[in-house]
């Protein structure tokens, strides 16, 4: 998960992740695909990193497409909206 209180320079955090938590059903597929950026707290509360670094792009993409209810949206400045 993101380190506490890390203040990264804006251009080193190019991805923007948003999960529709109304839609989320805690299938946790994102947690397996991108363990550093998604986790389930308690029984079913999803916590995610809204601003992952670009290096995580492939894992974030895996997380996004594997979501059974398609609750994850990603804006990637290099690739547009996914």
């Amino acid at each position: 998960m993101p380190e506490p209180d890390r203040q990264a320079a804006p251009d080193s955090r190019p991805l923007r992740v948003l999960v529709d938590l109304n839609r989320c059903q805690a299938y946790a597929q994102c947690c397996y695909a991108a363990p550093a950026h998604f986790t389930i707290e308690g029984r079913e509360a999803l916590f995610y990193d809204p601003a992952p670094l670009a290096e995580a792009r492939a894992d974030i993409e895996r997380a996004r497409i594997s979501c059974p209810v398609q609750a994850i949206r990603v804006e990637d400045p290099e690739r547009g909206v996914l």
């Binding site: 059903q25 809204p50 990603v74």
Partner: protein, 422 residues
């Protein structure tokens, strides 16, 4: 032919999604977004949760855009007035913007502590903006001896949860007999209150904070309760709900007050005579509209999903005036407190019955359904999200209450309980 000009007032979640919907629906004219805050639209729910615990940086929640807006941004610029006759909005910097279509999504702000002097004391916070969250995070990280949360709504409860995650002693004061009583009724409020108590939150329900005392140097040190009790607290969070940002509409001729801007069932703004202004639509927290699922009762909803759905609706409406359908999305919300996932569908207001339909409150995972006059009007899930879609369908269909019999994971007896709305 003059190119059409669209202005979106309010650069939050609703403003952003509304602007996108305008573009998606084929609007090709000029588009300007005006925001009082200096930031691009950002997501607020994390501000009262993981931003406070330090797990997410306050500036990390900028919302993704879903399509290139090709818009002009006027950020850090509050809107001060609406001149409908000339089709212009006035801005705080003295300039004005002409519009042919206007989306109003000015949202809400945190209700301030009624005593302005006390409200300005060091150590007294509220939470709505990114700056609020940054300040509160800094204050929490400094290790306060005890936090006092005033108000047991969702924000107050999330705040108390964040304190416990950080291991900080916290007291929550709520005037009704249970937290969340206004939204969930006292029955469910008691259940959720017990979850907080079990996790170390000191719950003081049925009492009010009368005044805040400072140390003589402008820093809060304790709160005095209506019963005479005192709470020693060096950090106070005022969580008394939200006030709708409608003051700027005074004199515009639109029907607006502290409860919101009135809209018709399609989402167009209404004037004080009840006439539609088809150039102006509203969305999100600020819009008060008749909800078809609730017999046309006028509601203004502060939910995340509602801001998205209604803004998308309003954007389409403004882009294509013929696309005139009623807005009818079923309200939904979620909250996480102490790692517990609380989700809801529908509106509980006016409920006259409550059943535990799935799971068991004793095990800390259950789904409750609210009924009114024999119909399902809302469902509340506490760590039981898997059954919520089935009950959401019952709510959307206004199915007979209580619904769904003979199911798995159901309590054997499901008596209809009083929901506890005063």
């Amino acid at each position: 032919m003059v190119a059409e000009r669209a202005v979106v007032v309010g650069a939050g979640l609703a403003g952003l999604r509304g602007a996108e919907a305008l573009r998606r629906a084929g609007f090709t004219g000029s588009l300007t977004l005006v925001g009082a805050e200096a930031h691009r639209p950002y997501d607020r729910p994390p501000l009262s949760k993981h931003v406070l615990t330090g797990a997410v940086a306050a500036d990390a929640t900028t919302l993704p855009s879903f399509l290139p807006l090709e818009a002009e941004w006027r950020l850090g610029t509050a809107v001060t007035g609406l001149d409908r006759r000339n089709g212009r909005v006035r801005l705080a910097d003295g300039s004005s913007l002409a519009f042919d279509r206007l989306l109003i999504a000015t949202g809400t702000r945190a209700r301030a502590w009624p005593n302005p002097h006390e409200g300005r004391l060091a150590g007294v916070h509220s939470i709505r903006s990114r700056e609020d969250a940054t300040a509160l995070r800094t204050a929490l990280a400094a290790g306060p001896r005890r936090v006092l949360v005033i108000g047991g709504g969702f924000i107050g409860c999330e705040m108390a949860s964040a304190c416990r995650t950080l291991g900080i002693p916290v007291t929550l004061v709520e005037p009704s007999t249970a937290p969340l009583a206004r939204v969930l009724g006292t029955h469910m409020g008691d259940v959720i209150g017990a979850l907080h108590t079990a996790r170390g939150v000191e719950m003081r329900c049925g009492t009010e904070v009368e005044w805040l005392e400072d140390d003589g140097r402008g820093r809060v040190v304790r709160a005095h309760l209506s019963g005479g009790d005192r709470i020693e607290a060096d950090l106070v969070v005022v969580a008394l709900g939200a006030v709708r940002n409608t003051e700027w509409l005074a004199g515009s001729g639109l029907s607006a007050d502290a409860g919101g801007l009135d809209c018709d069932a399609d989402g167009y703004a209404l004037d004080t005579e009840g006439r539609v202004d088809a150039r102006v639509a509203a969305a999100g927290d600020v819009a008060r509209f008749p909800h078809p699922l609730y017999d046309g009762r006028r509601v203004a909803l502060e939910h995340w999903s509602h801001a998205v759905a209604q803004a998308e609706h309003a954007g389409r409406l403004l882009a294509d005036r013929k696309a005139c359908s009623h807005y009818a999305a079923v309200p939904t919300f979620w909250s996480t407190q102490h790692g517990i996932n609380i989700k809801s569908v529908g509106l509980t207001e006016g409920a006259d019955g409550l059943v535990i339909a799935q799971g068991s409150p004793k095990e800390g995972r259950f789904l409750a359904v609210y009924g009114r006059e024999g119909r399902c009007i809302a469902a509340l899930s506490v760590d039981c999200a898997r059954w919520l879609p089935a009950y959401a369908a019952q709510v959307a269909a206004r199915a007979p209450f209580p619904p769904i019999h003979g199911a798995i994971d159901q309590p054997e007896h499901r008596p209809v309980l009083p929901p506890g709305f005063s």
